[in-house]
């Protein structure tokens, strides 16, 4: 039992990372109906921004994080304004092709700029683990999990309690009516992409110290985030949070009890089963997702 609890608690860190990345995916999907397949490469670019700002320019870590997150926001807005805008209203196949083209482009450019040698960035929180009864909790994991919950809550309040949040929801609900109400669809989409990519970037910054930071760092991790987003329901905030943690815990249990090399396969099976039985996920609205 202790082992089980320890595995679940150890999953807090990665669960939070998947949740943050899934949130980023869902924010974009909610307004633009596009799954950003390029998010892994874009998020990795944000983590590499941190490396450049911290190791390259010698900025303090806090400033490096803030700059990198802002850079991620700019990258997201640029993606929307420069590329996604041109394929708006086209069949899904077209936007899938576009985001995969961008995935290749960004990942390749990251390789050109930063090279493929592994780099290291500082951990956000360090210090001894906290003992809670028989299990020990890593401070950094706790911080990441808390951050994921806080970000979800903040986004929820933003969507429900602010005028801008209302505008975003209006665009997600019905773009044409929203534009008749004087809401700038362009602005809302740009904002969604900026926040979405910035959040994925935050996930990459948090995961980078735990793995080696290379341009392809997020290739595998992206699948866990996709699984989290799909499990919770594409476009859903709380779904991303719950889905991200569920995937984190599941893969941790697989690694602990079965084999560390089977995580991807089990997560793939999870994606297929969820999409087959409940394509809208746990929290999503029943949209037209099947044939």
């Amino acid at each position: 039992m202790t082992e089980f609890l320890q595995l679940v608690v150890s999953a807090l860190g990665f669960g939070g990372i998947y949740a943050l990345a899934a949130l980023g995916l869902n924010i974009i999907f909610k307004t633009s109906n596009v799954v950003n397949f390029a998010f892994g490469a874009m998020a990795t670019a944000v983590a590499l921004f941190v490396w450049t700002a911290h190791t390259g320019l010698g900025l303090p870590t806090g400033a490096a994080w803030v700059l990198a997150i802002l850079g991620g926001g700019a990258l997201g807005a640029l993606t929307e304004g420069g590329f996604m805008r041109r394929v708006e209203g086209t069949p899904p196949l077209v936007s899938i092709v576009m985001t995969i083209g961008l995935l290749l482009l960004v990942e390749g450019l990251a390789g050109v700029i930063w090279g493929y040698g592994p780099k290291s960035v500082p951990t956000v929180i360090s210090g001894p683990s906290i003992a809670v009864g028989p299990v020990s909790v890593d401070r950094n994991d706790l911080f990441i999990a808390g951050l994921a919950v806080a970000v979800t809550l903040a986004l929820y309040l933003f969507y429900q309690r602010t005028r801008l949040g209302l505008a975003v929801r209006a665009v997600a609900e019905d773009p044409e009516v929203a534009s008749l109400m004087g809401i700038s669809r362009r602005w809302v989409l740009g904002l969604s992409w900026a926040v979405g990519v910035a959040l994925c970037g935050a996930a990459a910054i948090l995961v980078a110290p735990a793995v080696s930071l290379t341009p392809t760092m997020m290739d595998d991790i992206a699948v866990f985030a996709f699984a989290g987003a799909v499990l919770g329901g594409l476009g859903s905030l709380w779904g991303a949070l719950v889905g991200g943690f569920a995937v984190g815990i599941l893969s941790d249990l697989i690694a602990g009890y079965v084999s560390a090399n089977l995580q991807l396969a089990v997560v793939f099976a999870l994606i297929v089963v969820v999409l087959y039985l409940r394509p809208q996920g746990l929290f999503g609205q029943a949209a037209q997702v099947r044939q």
Partner: protein
């Protein structure tokens, strides 16, 4: 009144003839071009001095060409996305190596067909759930598939050889042992030509027209009596079959099958090759695959540029050259003939009868918006 059914039948059969004729003429690549390419492919080893490195690369181009064709069948003609085609290639290659290792005496054709059939079975299994999904959901599912297959192979114990992989034993083709790049090249060429002919045959058949009907509109296809779910499962199974055949050639050409050959970027590269070559064009697939081999070959000197170039090519193909490289001659002709042809309303270029191959679901046209929700 009594003559009505007869009239309907007559109309229907005429419609069928029209459709069949349209599909045939659309698929008719100038026979001369095909012959010339084939002759060049047959004699070219003789003229570059049987260089084994070049032969290996040429075989790789043929293998990738078949994979890209199988993916194009799925995406360009069936309108279904797969971001994990490398997974099917891996299943085919592993099947070939496993069968050839454990049953050394089997004739090559049996091993080849088994690689295709086992992969087709996997395609069927994936198609059953995937056939119910559309758009982004399908892409996410196939992405997971592409990543999961190499990992499952890694955990396959002695069956798949784990980290070290499997050695593909040399195959015998009658008196010829396929342990040298030259016979392997000719085998790859034969497999590609037969598969391409078979894919063409499928596309001109009612099954192929069902694929295109599902591609053009998943909402009106059922109204024409098409079972969309079943059509998609058939599509996935067929695509996987041809990809599995390519897996056999891949195993033979690389002589070792290891999980690291099938990393995620390979699936992305196939995806890019289809788009750059041209959705819905078999020739485009071959050109895209050949470019892919060239870029991969230069990857050491190009570094990240190889991936970035592919990304840029995909974006350019999507935004500026719908139809990819295969559509370039037609677009050039149109540009020379005068701007009038190019200024045709975008909605008219996309749909021909049965969805003309070579004129893909015109990505940036507003008409495309109505297709596939």
């Amino acid at each position: 009144m009594s003559r009505l059914p007869g009239r309907v039948a007559a109309l229907r059969s005429r419609g069928r003839r029209d459709l069949a004729a349209a599909a045939r003429s659309a698929l008719r690549v100038p026979v001369l071009v095909t012959l010339v390419v084939l002759v060049v492919a047959l004699v070219f080893p003789r003229f570059q001095g049987w260089n084994t490195t070049v032969m290996g690369l040429a075989t790789e181009a043929l293998t990738y060409g078949l994979v890209t064709m199988s993916l194009n069948l799925l995406m360009g003609y069936g309108g279904q996305v797969s971001v994990g085609q490398g997974g099917f290639l891996a299943v085919g290659a592993y099947t070939a190596a496993i069968v050839a290792t454990h049953f050394g005496g089997l004739p090559f054709i049996v091993v080849l067909l088994l690689a295709g059939l086992v992969t087709a079975a996997v395609g069927l299994l994936l198609g059953l759930p995937a056939g119910r999904l559309r758009g982004h959901y399908l892409a996410v599912a196939t992405l997971g598939f592409g990543l999961a297959v190499p990992e499952i192979a890694l955990n396959g114990g002695s069956l798949t050889g784990g980290y070290t992989g499997l050695i593909m034993p040399p195959q015998n083709l009658g008196p010829v042992t396929l342990n040298n790049p030259v016979p392997v090249y000719y085998l790859a060429l034969a497999v590609l030509v037969v598969s391409a002919a078979a894919i063409r045959g499928v596309l001109t058949s009612p099954t192929g027209r069902r694929f295109m009907a599902v591609r053009d509109s998943q909402d009106t296809a059922p109204a024409m009596g098409i079972n969309v779910g079943r059509t998609k499962v058939v599509l996935f199974t067929l695509s996987a079959f041809f990809c599995g055949l390519a897996g056999y050639v891949f195993a033979l050409n690389n002589s070792i099958v290891e999980y690291s050959s099938f990393d995620f970027s390979l699936s992305l590269f196939f995806f890019a090759a289809v788009i750059v070559g041209g959705l819905g064009s078999m020739w485009g697939s071959l050109i895209g695959a050949a470019l892919l081999v060239v870029i991969q070959q230069e990857a050491v000197s190009l570094g990240g540029f190889s991936e970035a170039i592919l990304g840029v090519a995909v974006v350019i193909a999507l935004l500026l050259v719908p139809g990819g490289l295969a559509a370039l001659p037609r677009r050039t002709r149109a540009a020379i003939a005068g701007p009038r042809i190019l200024r045709r309303p975008a909605g008219q270029t996309g749909t021909g009868p049965g969805g003309l191959p070579g004129q893909p679901p015109a990505p940036s046209s507003p008409a495309g918006a109505s297709r596939e929700g």
